[in-house]
Symmetry: C2
Subunit: 443 residues, 2 copies
């Protein structure tokens, strides 16, 4: 196709006025004006208007992939389109070569924002091409990349956590079982054990990995497979070090999004959730419940956790009182945290743990871990687990482990909150849930 001249990306054509170029991409739309046909050609960098003769364009339709040679010209002033980057120019087609024909579309790509979720996902290979879906995944890429950059800057070592694990005993959410050469194995609910083990070797580690949750429920906030941004940090002075690092992660991420994604944010008509210029607010879970009771009369003061409604309410309170959509909730009860969570020495029913809520949704969980082998062993038993199932993990603590702790951000939850999506499924390229693996299960 492109042998005789190099391909020019559409965003570069604005610097090529008067020149002959070759562009290639998908036919985004086509407008027939008698002997003249106007085509909007789309490549990954943008959209360019092609002017073609009727004969050149008569068989073309949306999503055909074509290669066009011709000259870049200024548009007549009255024909300029200020909404697109190339709005002042157009390409006068000399030759159009079809690289791949498209079948008739089931819907126009511009209608993707109004599709129902099942249609959006059943036709994912097609809907991925829409501006909306590409914007979401671009935000996801920047969120993950920004996490990685911050971690590296702070001296964290990146490792690859395994997904296949031998025991289903971390507790909490349900796990997927694998037939592993005739044995039972499971998909990791998180890289928790492994990142803690790695602290014993590298002190500060992180991993971008999949976490799997076999929760048999449909919510707008859960996926069966999601991207977890996990970090663990040894030689901490206190668990407050962990919150400080989380705050740096978030501030860096917001800067990266502002710099790299203004177009994507404006497409969704959103601004980033507000970050206070002061340190982010931190309150204990029990205080949060008290505040919610005062504000709403809803008395969850003896509940072991915040409800989704509580999370929304306390974020509103944070915004009103601290000008921050993001707030740390600390000191969750011991009974609601995993066996490895450090108790608060001044109030042992609670833990040195925290969640971060962003505009009403939990996006992060973290806390200090027990680094004393005997204490950990005792907790494993107290939580009803078998120490032998944890002997691999326990080794790390048996042979000397510094004070440590960590946290995990849910990548899709961050994207959901940043773009104010209604459903987490939109924030994953190929979401899996109870009823869906691509277009399977129900079908």
């Amino acid at each position: 196709m492109l042998k005789n001249m190099p391909r020019t990306l559409i965003e570069q054509t604005i610097n090529q006025i008067g020149q002959k170029v070759q562009v290639a991409g998908w036919i985004n739309s086509k407008r027939d004006h008698g002997q003249m046909v106007f085509i909007d050609l789309r490549d990954k960098s943008g959209i360019l208007q092609i002017v073609a003769g009727k004969n050149q364009a008569q068989d073309l339709r949306e999503e055909d992939v074509v290669c066009v040679q011709g000259q870049i010209k200024n548009r007549p002033p009255q024909m300029e389109n200020p909404d697109i980057q190339t709005g002042k120019i157009e390409l006068e087609a000399e030759k159009i070569t079809v690289l791949s024909k498209a079948a008739t579309l089931p819907f126009a790509l511009k209608d993707v924002p109004s599709l129902s979720l099942p249609v959006l996902l059943d036709f994912r290979p097609l809907t991925l091409r829409s501006e909306r879906v590409k914007a979401i995944l671009t935000i996801q890429e920047v969120v993950i990349d920004s996490f990685r950059q911050t971690m590296k800057r702070l001296g964290f070592f990146e490792f690859q956590a395994p997904a296949i694990v031998p025991t289903a005993t971390e507790g909490g959410a349900e796990v997927f079982k694998i037939d592993y050469y005739g044995h039972n194995a499971y998909l990791a609910q998180s890289p928790q054990m492994y990142k803690q083990i790695m602290v014993g070797a590298f002190e500060r580690v992180f991993t971008v990995t999949k976490a799997y949750r076999a929760e048999p429920s449909y919510t707008t906030r859960h996926l069966s497979e999601y991207v977890s941004l996990d970090a663990e940090m040894g030689f901490i002075d206190s668990w407050e070090d962990l919150m400080a690092v989380c705050e740096i992660v978030i501030r860096d991420m917001w800067s990266a999004l502002e710099q790299k994604c203004p177009k994507e944010l404006s497409l969704f008509g959103v601004t980033l959730p507000i970050l206070s210029n002061n340190p982010l607010p931190k309150i204990k879970m029990r205080q949060a419940q008290e505040i919610i009771f005062q504000r709403t009369g809803r008395d969850n003061r003896n509940e072991p956790d915040l409800t989704p409604e509580d999370e929304k309410e306390i974020c509103l309170w944070s915004k009103e009182n601290y000008h921050s959509d993001i707030i740390f909730i600390t000191h969750y009860p011991r009974s609601k945290r995993p066996f490895y969570t450090q108790e608060d020495p001044s109030d042992p029913q609670y833990t040195l743990s925290f969640d971060i809520l962003c505009a009403g949704l939990e996006i992060t969980t973290g806390g200090q871990r027990i680094n004393d082998y005997q204490r950990l062993l005792q907790n494993i038993k107290e939580w009803g687990n078998t120490p032998n199932d944890f002997r691999f993990y326990l080794q790390a603590f048996q042979y000397g482990m510094p004070p440590e702790g960590g946290f995990a951000f849910g990548a899709e939850r961050l994207v959901k909150q940043i773009l104010q999506l209604e459903n987490l499924r939109e924030a994953n390229a190929f979401p899996r849930d109870m009823g869906r693996i691509d277009n399977r299960l129900n079908g």
Copy 2:
């Protein structure tokens, strides 16, 4: 522990002569000299000699985690150790605080290089702390990071491929079955289908992801879960574009390793596999077999693939004739490649596909794909598959797909070949195989 003064990393202490510092880490070794005790303290940045009084150090043993306050001093000249970065200094301990006690070690960390593989892996949380294992994982980190940096520089978009897939029909290696809410699902053998789908939206994409192979065999070259460095590229002129990108990936990676890992490479006493200054050599598989026949008398000229011995032999030939440990083998037979592989128009029994061999081992597979919907559909049938199982994937081609192709590097195989490890298992932090998930299965 560190409240009263900040922690100094050991590598920084060489700039702190005469100053009071606080360091923290693991006791790497301890030598008793009567009233004086010498401790080698290890943190992630290096090793520092601590001089302590007998009383301060009597209860300490290897792998205890301690925090030490004291003054950095020059060593007496005759006591300098040129082998370590901090060999001219030592820390005179004023206060030693134990942060975590270690149990008696089953072996000394310095003996890790001589451990058998099962012991090395059964005690992974401990052996990870050895210089050898940390070096291997550091090389892995640089290999993966370098791949990512090159891909980004070349305009590839990073996406997150799913691991849970609905069908086990890509063929080739066996797959792991998952109980998915009462349905059957599988672990992805590769992100192949998804990266191709993504090309329809982003043109050039890559993913760093896990691939799963349920091969019921023990070899030194296979893992059940490995890290795949996958890329896919649309709007190619020809499949040679793919080989050109692979060559850039490798050259960048070698530069990154030379710059960032001289210590790790020299620990293993290796130099990087030789890259020719000329373009890397490329020969057809049939030619390779002919050369092997000429050199060894081994007649595999009608075999559909190279054997492991063939791969070693042709790399020797490449080194002798092209001064390159790395060689492209091209034109594998159609019957040995997946249904989506483009045939060579000039010889349709062969394909526009390639492997890259590095010092005797395949590290990459790639090729041009069929982007024509009808042709793809026909091949799916011809390979004995059910088109309906591929309807999600086929959508991408149904609605217009440019000429495209891609490749995948095996991260652990790269690390194995770079460090000349005997067994691939060493190149993964937590390797899984038929007999092992951590220290499970046989136990």
